[in-house]
């Protein structure tokens, strides 16, 4: 897909943008089917089931956009029967920042800082996904050392995201912020490393097409090694505090069950999908970057409830630590960026590309169409938060409002990515 095809740019563009007449397409051409694997019956989703006859009076509550546990500006219009949810309608767009439209007005390099602000917990993962898409588009090679740096930064980002998520989830359950404080203690350590590397705590803007912006500062690897070596102790601490906690178990077991069929049909990805027991991790499926060089396992849940989603995060953090240790051991010397890449006036050839990575929240993809100019003709993001959120009503129906809050918390959304 990334290679320019052999018909001319205008026709290709027309096809890609859907401006082509339907009869021009060849319907008889053989279609390449995806390789056989586990198949799931398509389950028709009842769009809005009729509200059952209530026992008492229905109460309509608007949760958000300003509410302590909607993780930003997100609204759920909830219809309650007593405390039970009979209907839940999400309302988006309170943080719609015209990301994709701005992306089409800006140069390829100029878009990189915008991707930081997409999922503002994981700016480095977003950078990588975007860089991957552009590299596919332009056919660029990434030096060995840069690949290692990318893996290290992405896995550190995963640690930041997952530990903060566990903290926020427990905060939604009402722990007065103690686990959140512990998570942010670790986050600060990792952010210090990011700051030393990129100059910014949150909005790193570090990856470039064909490599990374600058080489590692002296002593950085040792700093990261210390963080990574101490991280399992933090996970143990969290687990001792939480995993066996009676109240946590009572609150999360059997709450917000996501059946695997529904998860697949709705396009859910990331830890939420794996909590439902489906083995799908882009690091294993695509083996993008250099992930095929590392030994790590993909944890899978059995019930698909909130507790499994919580445990997925904990277990994935342990696997990330393993990847980090291997990467920190093997990282070679060398250049960090392809010297032939001209970032300033970057002009990819005509074509289209879809680059995707396993972001902490799921499959994060960038779809780019180039018309040969300095700006992308079409710039589209596949946001994992948004797509994982589509099953919210199915998970919440029948539970109480208090459950909806933690189900939403365990989906792990960031509104910058949902609304874009």
């Amino acid at each position: 897909m990334s290679k320019p095809l052999d018909f001319d740019a205008a026709e290709q563009l027309a096809m890609a943008t859907g401006d082509v007449e339907p009869e021009q397409l060849d319907h008889d051409a053989p279609v390449s089917l995806p390789p056989p694997g586990p198949r799931y019956e398509a389950v028709p989703r009842a769009a809005s089931p009729a509200i059952p006859e209530p026992e008492g009076e229905l109460l309509e509550v608007s949760v958000g956009p300003h509410h302590p546990s909607t993780h930003g500006v997100f609204r759920m219009n909830v219809v309650l029967d007593g405390e039970k949810i009979v209907q839940l309608k999400p309302v988006f767009g309170y943080l719609h920042r015209n990301h994709e439209k701005l992306g089409e007005q800006t140069t390829y390099l100029g878009n990189m800082p915008y991707t930081d602000r997409l999922d503002y917990f994981c700016s480095l993962s977003n950078n990588w996904a975007y860089a991957l898409a552009v590299e596919k588009l332009a056919g660029l090679k990434v030096p060995e050392r840069a690949e290692y740096i990318r893996v290290i930064t992405a896995e550190l980002t995963r640690l930041v995201n997952h530990s903060s998520l566990v903290g926020f989830l427990l905060h939604d359950m009402g722990t007065m912020g103690t686990p959140l404080m512990y998570a942010f203690r670790e986050r600060e350590k990792i952010l210090d490393a990011f700051e030393a590397l990129t100059g910014a705590r949150m909005m790193c803007n570090y990856h470039r097409f064909g490599g990374c912006r600058v080489d590692l500062p002296p002593g950085w690897l040792d700093q990261v090694r210390t963080i990574v070596d101490n991280f399992p102790r933090f996970i143990d601490e969290m687990e001792r505090l939480l995993s066996e906690n009676e109240v946590l178990i009572a609150r999360t077991h059997g709450v917000g069950v996501l059946p695997p069929e529904l998860a697949v049909n709705a396009g859910v990805t990331g830890p939420s999908l794996r909590a439902s027991g489906i083995n799908y991790d882009l690091r294993k499926v695509d083996r993008y970057g250099i992930y095929d060089r590392f030994q790590f396992r993909v944890p899978l849940g059995e019930k698909g409830d909130v507790y499994d989603r919580y445990m997925m995060r904990i277990l994935e953090m342990r696997e990330s630590v393993k990847i980090l240790q291997q990467a920190l051991r093997d990282i070679p010397e060398g250049p960090v960026i392809d010297p032939k890449v001209r970032l300033r006036n970057f002009t990819p050839p005509v074509g289209e590309a879809y680059g995707r990575i396993e972001a902490p929240k799921g499959e994060l993809g960038f779809y780019l169409i180039s018309d040969g100019s300095k700006k992308p003709y079409r710039y589209r993001i596949r946001p994992p938060s948004f797509i994982n959120l589509t099953v919210l009503e199915d998970m919440c129906r029948g539970h109480t409002l208090a459950d909806a809050v933690i189900i939403l918390g365990a989906v792990d959304i960031v509104l910058g990515e949902v609304d874009r």
């Binding site: 009842a46 089931p49 009729a50 059952p52 006859e53 026992e55 008492g56 009076e57």
Partner: protein, 169 residues
């Protein structure tokens, strides 16, 4: 009759009137709470601490809350804004006069109603317990049984029948 009693009596009567006359059901219920509290403090004024505490615990803590709950669960339709007074006013007045007259008659024609005025602080709690547990134990148990049956009945009425459940979608 002391000044305290006068204040308490006025308070109780006014609150009771409010319970009847106020338009909003919740206001009426809260006014009833006020009347019950007034009665409770009258007991306290008479030195009957235990009866005071039980009056508050049972009537304010339980009965009033129950009324409030019922009002909340059946909120709306047709109750809001209507007076709770008995509709043919003459009937209500008649009942009220009958009850008041009966009470006055009972008090006045009691052989030694002056002697029945309780002395302050004379209500020994132990004595109350002994009387309840010896002389009136059968009556007490009977009331307990009755209340239990009533509660079971209420639970049975409130219990959702399996066939009336809405079909799972």
């Amino acid at each position: 009759m002391s000044a305290t009693f006068a204040i308490l009596a006025t308070w109780t009567v006014l609150a009771a009137l409010g319970a009847m006359a106020l338009r909003k059901p919740v206001h009426a219920a809260l006014s009833l709470v006020g009347a019950l509290m007034g009665v409770a403090f009258t007991y306290l004024n008479l030195g009957a601490e235990f009866i005071t505490a039980v009056q508050v615990l049972v009537y304010v803590g339980a009965v009033a809350i129950l009324i409030v709950f019922v009002l909340q669960l059946t909120r709306g339709e047709g109750v809001e804004g209507e007076s709770l007074a008995v509709q043919p006013a003459s009937l209500g007045l008649g009942i009220a006069l009958l009850v008041t007259g009966g009470l006055i008659a009972a008090v006045v024609f009691l052989p030694d109603w002056r002697a029945a005025w309780p002395e302050k602080g004379d209500v020994a709690l132990k004595r109350l317990g002994e009387v309840l547990m010896n002389r009136y134990v059968v009556a007490l148990e009977a009331i307990g049984l009755l209340l239990t049956i009533a509660m079971i009945g209420a639970v049975l009425i409130a219990l959702k029948r399996p066939d009336s459940q809405p079909p799972e979608s």
